[in-house]
């Protein structure tokens, strides 16, 4: 049917074109060979391609090298302790012979701090991203974005310093109040006469401030990708602004929120200096219940930072701990970027 239609069109065209020439011939069909279009790079181009490709690949290699060299240099400690023992032992004692080192106690603290941080930062980030994308005028949006970026620019060291000497004192009453009133929840339990400074809770709050900008920026990007048509449809149906956000923006940005939170988790896991200042860096003992409100706890990165310049065996153990941290953060970040890029909202978003 389609063919006949085009035939008809062609006849009509031929008829128009050849109006004053009654002996019309159908136009001759030209056999056209397909032209091959290919880029022929010049020498300069080829060198340029090689150079940039080399740079790209070297970035890739660098990351593999980091993992490889950490593995090689930590082999002393790993072979002496055994990889499985190293991963599952909670104590870290180099004063006894043979030394008993393990990373699990450190990992527990790391994960706890990161979870507390992300738990505080995610709701705040989502609200902040909503304020930026949905609730502000262009001028205020610029201000808010500036403040969040500024928060990201402040070095971790200064956060640690501020948290250690200023914020800690302000949080202790809250910890006390939580433990007195909600002590029956195992999470908020504290021991008798335990110090409340230098706790995982305080470290988590400070780290939350540090991961807030990264989560906010991912979530903000995702929210701003919401199709305006869907938003307008929700409003046109008589929805309030919050109704629109709840039914359009939040479901659309779901993947981005999850991915952004994981990215924040990755950052929180690797946070070093602030945690090194805030926590006493004593490995968490498993088997006992976890007290996040009282003094104690250690993270892998903070522990490593506090032991810089130790003897050869300890250093080897620290490198092994660094390797574990490297693998965990890498995995978290990769999963996060996959989650964001696979979700409907995050397709065009950089994280």
């Amino acid at each position: 049917m389609l063919l006949s239609q085009t035939d008809g069109v062609r006849n009509a065209v031929a008829g128009i074109a050849l109006e004053d020439n009654p002996v019309a011939q159908p136009p001759p069909v030209v056999e056209r060979t397909r032209r091959v279009i290919a880029e022929v790079p010049s020498t300069a181009d080829r060198n340029f391609n090689r150079l940039t490709m080399g740079a790209g690949i070297s970035v890739l290699l660098l990351l593999l090298l980091v993992g490889g060299f950490l593995l090689i240099q930590s082999s002393d400690a790993l072979s002496e302790t055994g990889i499985w023992t190293f991963l599952t032992r909670t104590e870290w004692r180099t004063d006894v012979q043979p030394a008993r080192i393990g990373v699990l106690g450190l990992l527990a603290g790391t994960v706890l701090v990161a979870v507390v941080a992300v738990g505080i930062a995610v709701p705040l980030s989502v609200l902040c991203a909503l304020a930026i994308t949905e609730y502000s005028t262009a001028k205020r949006r610029k201000w808010l974005v500036g403040v969040v970026d500024l928060l990201a620019a402040v070095p971790s060291l200064l956060f640690g310093l501020w948290g250690f000497l200023f914020l800690s004192d302000k949080i202790v009453p809250i910890s006390l109040w939580l433990s007195q009133n909600f002590g029956w929840i195992p999470l908020f339990e504290t021991q008798e006469n335990a110090g409340l400074t230098g706790s995982i809770f305080i470290a988590g709050i400070v780290v939350a401030l540090m991961v807030l900008p990264i989560i906010t920026s991912v979530v903000r990007e995702v929210f701003s990708q919401t199709p305006p048509g869907e938003k307008e449809a929700a409003l046109a149906l008589g929805g309030t602004r919050w109704g629109m956000i709840r039914n359009v923006v939040l479901p659309f940005g779901q993947g981005g929120i999850i991915g952004g939170s994981m990215l924040g988790l990755g950052r929180a896991l690797g946070e070093t200096i602030a945690v090194a200042l805030l926590l006493p860096q004593v490995p968490q003992k498993l088997g006992e219940s976890i007290h996040i409100l009282e003094n104690g706890g250690a993270t892998v990165s903070g522990f490593i930072a506090n032991r810089a310049g130790a003897d050869a065996f300890t250093t080897s153990g620290l490198l092994a701990a660094g390797l574990v941290l490297f693998i965990i953060t890498l995995a978290t970040n990769m999963i996060a970027s996959v989650v964001v890029s696979r979700s409907r909202s995050g397709a065009g978003v950089d994280i």
Binding site: D45, T52, L60, L151, I174, L263, G270, N333, S337
Partner: protein
């Protein structure tokens, strides 16, 4: 299709009744549209009233009936009670649906305001603490002959400032060419390796900075520990390598984003004129993206300046001036702060705060500088293009625009 609906509407019986209601004799009820986003003076009074009553209530609870409450708890409690009162009053006035909307508006706005508070507190705290010990001499002296009994204003951080400048400068030297080339690779090439490289650059930007320091330590310092070669010991050069690793993904990703903003038309025009790809990047893409790239570099520097963790295993820290980055351990501003505030000595802590203030000012300065470079110049551009257009066009009818200074 639009016509069909229109016909449909007029034929509906409801339409007929509406028409009939407009007949003379029957007085139509004035329609008042419901505007859920309307914010009247009355709403302001409700907000203030709820706030005042919640503060009073909490003051009563926290300071009269119970003791030992913290200011923080008071603020938090007041906020929660404020939300409850506000929700109750608004529900009473405008109904549940609109009340929820208003409540969420209040929560979102206050969450955005909460982000300001830690920033202001942090900057204010370091400013106040740092100004106490910061003297001009801080910029010219090192820690030679400093003992715990000396006041915090003696000595200085010149060695740390020199160290920071050298280390960050060298780090920029190593990372900038690689980062630019990698960003060009991600944007301008059509290699199948682009995707894995992008994923790895993303992953690298989440690399804990201490791991970068550990890596340099494991590769270049530990294996050569017995050789006694000062180049492969703790020194500023090693620190610069570790910093380069932390800067690399930051600069690559930001430059990548900036290069993506360069219009494809410019590239195609250049290629169509016969320029090679290398020439196109060098003469068209880079100049177009210059301001954005400068911003990227400044942001990379700002990040590297504040990094402490990678330096612990590389520069190690030193109390005296060591201006040679290739030999001997070296101080830098973050290390100076970190080492001093951990000393059990009040004067050392104050000295640490002076260093922290210098560091903060440096980072804030770089941040503002980056913003200044990368600011939106579209408005000025529109103006200037308008003047050129009028001056270029041969119509002399609009001289008013021409004379306007752009």
């Amino acid at each position: 299709m639009t016509i069909e609906t229109a016909v449909d509407v007029t034929e509906r019986p409801r339409g007929a009744t509406r028409v009939s209601s407009r007949q003379p004799g029957s007085t139509p009820r004035p329609r008042s549209p419901r505007r859920p986003r309307e914010f009247t003076n009355f709403d302001v009074w409700i907000l203030l009233g709820s706030l005042a009553s919640s503060i009073c209530l909490n003051w009563l609870i926290f300071y009269r009936f119970t003791v030992g409450a913290s200011q923080f708890g008071f603020v938090l409690g007041s906020y929660i009670v404020f939300l409850i009162i506000f929700a109750a009053v608004t529900t009473e006035r405008v109904g549940r649906l609109v009340a929820v909307d208003r409540l969420m508006t209040v929560i979102v706005v206050s969450a955005a305001a909460v982000v300001f508070i830690p920033l202001v507190l942090l900057i204010g705290y370091i400013l106040i603490k740092g100004l106490k010990a910061l003297r001009p001499s801080f910029l010219f002296n090192d820690q030679q002959g400093i003992t715990p009994v000396l006041p915090s204003t003696s000595g200085g951080g010149a060695h740390a400032i020199i160290g920071t400048i050298e280390q960050v400068g060298l780090a920029l030297l190593w990372s900038l060419p690689l980062a630019l080339a990698a960003a060009v690779f991600l944007n301008e090439s059509s290699s199948k390796w682009r995707r894995p490289v992008r994923i790895f650059v993303d992953a690298m930007s989440g690399l804990p900075s201490i791991v970068a320091g550990l890596f340099i330590f494991a590769v270049l310092i530990l294996p050569f520990a017995k050789s006694g070669n000062p180049l492969f010991g703790y020194n500023g050069f090693m620190a610069s390598l570790a910093l380069a690793i932390t800067m690399l993904p930051t600069i690559t990703r930001t430059v990548d984003v900036v290069l993506r903003l360069v219009p494809d038309g410019l590239r195609e025009a250049s290629l169509a004129l016969g320029a090679s790809r290398a020439r196109t990047v060098w003469s068209i893409v880079f100049p177009t993206a210059r301001t954005g790239m400068t911003t990227a570099v400044v942001l990379g520097i700002a990040r590297a300046v504040g990094e402490t963790a990678p330096l612990l295993f590389t520069a190690f820290g030193y109390d005296l001036m060591n201006s040679n980055p290739f030999s001997g351990s070296q101080e830098s501003l973050p290390l100076f702060v970190y080492r001093n505030i951990r000393k059990p000595d009040i004067n050392a802590i104050e000295r640490g705060f002076a260093g922290a203030l210098v560091l903060l000012l440096l980072v804030l300065g770089l941040f503002v500088f980056a913003r200044f470079i990368g600011r939106d110049r579209s408005r000025r551009k529109i103006k200037s293009s308008r003047t050129t257009r009028t001056s270029d066009s041969a119509i002399p009818a609009m001289p008013a625009l021409e004379g306007k200074p752009s």
